[in-house]
């Protein structure tokens, strides 16, 4: 009934891995854009902006990614009849919603980690809020954001495995299908785990390289924990 796990079974797994990388790249970039906006709003002088972003961030951080994925996948066609995003689009929307909240916390932490004297000096020079932010605070904060951002990206890759529940053919789902064909879950999922390891470990090496090059090192206990288990 089953055939043994052979080398050609690596092809669907590699295709799945490629889809996982695409998924994480798109939702990572969108997540960083929305996360920057949310994180700046979270530290802005406007009370309304602070409230809205705080509510969004705490709601998303308090709900499992899996529930967010179900909400987007089943909820969008019900809430907006006629709008039926395909599997990839729903996965991107769900992971972006989730990523934005976690990136926003990293942005907030990094903005707050910039020495207070910098902000006071900008005030003393008479810079307005936006100039202070774009010329003084953000250029310094961006450097601090990178190491926890790398940690978050690894979390995103791992959490993207949950999209398997929507039936999108990413790496984990490809693993399921190959298991059903070969009846060999041990080899299949060890290969799947190995592929995730290569992606995640590669990203973390890049992060180490950045820390070495720039000398920026952030105490892992002082910043919001990256998401993803």
């Amino acid at each position: 009934m089953f055939r043994p796990f052979e080398w050609q079974d690596l092809i669907p797994l590699a295709q799945g891995a490629w889809l996982t990388i695409q998924l994480c790249a798109v939702s990572g970039i969108l997540g960083v854009i929305f996360g920057l906006i949310l994180g700046i709003a979270r530290t802005s002088p406007s009370r309304i902006a602070r409230w809205i972003s705080t509510i969004y961030i705490s709601c998303v951080r308090g709900i499992p990614v899996l529930v967010i994925i179900f909400f987007v996948f089943f909820g969008i066609p019900l809430l907006f009849p006629g709008l039926e995003p395909d599997k990839f689009a729903s996965a991107v929307i769900a992971l972006t919603c989730f990523a934005a909240a976690y990136v926003a916390e990293i942005v907030r932490g990094s903005i707050e980690a910039v020495a207070k004297g910098q902000s006071e000096a900008a005030d003393a020079l008479g810079l307005n809020y936006w100039r202070k932010l774009t010329y003084v605070i953000l250029p310094q904060a961006v450097k601090i954001m990178v190491p926890p951002g790398i940690g978050f990206l690894i979390g995103l890759v791992k959490d993207s495995s949950l999209v398997t529940v929507t039936g999108l053919l990413e790496l984990t789902h490809a693993g399921n299908i190959v298991t059903n064909l070969t009846g060999d879950p041990i080899k299949t999922f060890l290969v799947v785990a190995g592929m995730y390891f290569v992606i995640c470990y590669g990203i973390s090496r890049l992060g180490r390289l950045y820390e070495k090059r720039t000398g920026v090192h952030v105490d892992p206990l002082k910043l919001p924990e990256p998401a993803g288990i």
């Binding site: 499992p64 529930v67 909820g75 809430l79 791992k158 693993g175 995730y196």
Partner: protein, 223 residues
């Protein structure tokens, strides 16, 4: 589309039972995992070279692969070796092994954050080795590690939802089965999401409270 929550009332006990399962799996995995994490951390920093390499490999392997794949390996691959596990046991073992790797790294960061000079200062003050370990290494390290550990508890609680994929009857599983019987998908996801949100908010509030009462001695100091 009109929202109607009345259809969910007969299923409220199912949802609460799911929440209870999620909570207790989280607590068991947190306790067992943070104890195992101490061993993994000690093995990593200990003098035995092969053990240290083994512990490092364990930590890196767990931290760089998704929990879902780890659960699949436990739930689908172990039966191929003749070990059949109930979903509850698979989830508890998976979350415990996963949590151990993360807590080991938290301990490492916590102990490394205590500067060496403090130990030397303790020695210079004439403290006994036991006193140095207790007051100068363990107490500040515990204080440094505490927020990260409680954060890990919340992450673990949220991660327990992944158990639903291996048919563990916890909250997310209950949400999806109520959604399939009542077709009130949006409503049940909203209620379930609020349950998760409420519990994780309570956990974070409780941990802040605990932090201020447990470590009152450390207010204003930073080690």
């Amino acid at each position: 589309m009109a929202l109607y929550f009345g259809d969910l009332l007969p299923y409220s006990s199912l949802l609460l039972e799911g929440l209870w399962t999620a909570l207790y799996i989280t607590l068991v995995a947190m306790l067992a995992g943070s104890a195992l994490g101490v061993l993994v951390y000690l093995g990593k920093v200990g003098p035995g070279k092969p053990l240290s390499i083994l512990c490092t490999c364990y930590i890196e392997a767990i931290r760089n692969t998704p929990l879902l794949v780890q659960l699949y390996l436990i739930y689908f691959a172990l039966p191929a070796l003749g070990i059949n596990l109930e979903p509850v046991w698979a989830a508890v073992i998976g979350l415990t092994l996963n949590n151990a790797a993360y807590t080991a790294e938290i301990y490492r960061a916590g102990f490394e954050s205590v500067p060496h000079g403090l130990r030397e200062a303790g020695k210079a003050l004439g403290m006994k080795p036991g006193q140095i370990v207790r007051y100068i290494i363990l107490l500040p390290a515990t204080r440094n590690v505490f927020p990260a550990l409680t954060n890990q508890l919340i992450l673990l609680f949220l991660a327990s939802s992944i158990g639903s994929i291996i048919s563990l009857p916890e909250l997310t599983n209950a949400i999806m089965s109520v959604s399939n019987t009542t077709y009130r998908t949006i409503e049940v996801l909203a209620v379930g999401g609020l349950l998760y949100l409420g519990v994780s908010a309570l956990m974070s509030l409780a941990s802040k409270r605990a932090e201020t009462t447990l470590f009152r001695w450390a207010v204003g100091t930073h080690v």
